[in-house]
Symmetry: C2
Subunit: 210 residues, 2 copies
Amino acid sequence: MRKSENKAIERLLKYLEYVKNKKAEGQNYVFSHELADFVGVTPAQVRQDLMDFKIEGTPQKGYPVESFFDEVCSHLKCDSRTKIVLVGVGNLGKAILSYFVKRKPNLEIVAAFDSDQEKSDRIYSGTKILNVSELYNFVKKERVKVGIITTPADSAQDIADILIKAGIRGIVNFAPITIKVPESVFLEQIDITLSIEKTAYFAEKIAGEK
Amino acid sequence: MRKSENKAIERLLKYLEYVKNKKAEGQNYVFSHELADFVGVTPAQVRQDLMDFKIEGTPQKGYPVESFFDEVCSHLKCDSRTKIVLVGVGNLGKAILSYFVKRKPNLEIVAAFDSDQEKSDRIYSGTKILNVSELYNFVKKERVKVGIITTPADSAQDIADILIKAGIRGIVNFAPITIKVPESVFLEQIDITLSIEKTAYFAEKIAGEK
């Protein structure tokens, strides 16, 4: 997977979100500058992306919402349902469970897992919590394709290995450690602490330059 | 700020973390391949970065932990304390507050803010929660340099505008909307839902190709 494709898919997902809202509001056309504004790219980038999808608009009216939506949706297979498991039901895991539920109906967190026996066999925000010892069998049996890791750093690689062995094809890792996955698995790393540290560095640098 | 500098600072922060742990364990030398492994880059990249810092190692022993730490720490000004505010004490905000506290002693979340009166004047995970009406004055008076936004999408830009007007120099935005900041403010956007959606897309794509 090339980096440019990664970024292009991010933009498409954002276009889709915007157009979906406009569709719900009953709007028939959108302009490239609206989309550019929403996504934080140039209107030229939007036009290039939509040209790649053969979505045609006019300078007067913009792009037709209906066909735009259908075209991008079909490319992103946004009607198909993806099963997700989350591992590590601490504060961050809980935040994702409660935030995520029902927000994206095509993405379903089918179960969450934790090593703490106390947390097992409970329901959190509508999601069943199971013991991590059941992870491998569950993922394999349910053919889950995506895993979210919100465990501490020292267990993240072990969890990733179990997920991959059980057939997972994409991992979102929040543990503050770089995990290793084979090329056949898509990996998204989100290191919140690192992002805050980096922002602090640049903020202090900018403040010092003034 | 160029993109390459952004990535270089991320790597330095990770090297520093690794070397700090090794220092605490009493280790005297580290190898470039250890660092590369930890950060998820090539050993050649590590050697290049360390050459830029004039940190010299030998193929037999590696890099000396002590001078490595001092050199990188001084560049990153890792002894200076940065004041941070967090706005939006929902599930994600709470997760960051409880996760972050004491993890990075040089970064201090000095207060959190919410528009809900019910949440005001309480303490969460050791952090004081104030009403968002006090945000501007607090940031200005305390000379806070970094803001973390964990509000819903529709208030994120307003909050960013208040923060910037009050003197903030860096923003970490978790709200699922692209906020606009002037060039004199560093912006880090973390869109968790988008990352999960993107991972689902690529996971399904990989699964379909098999």
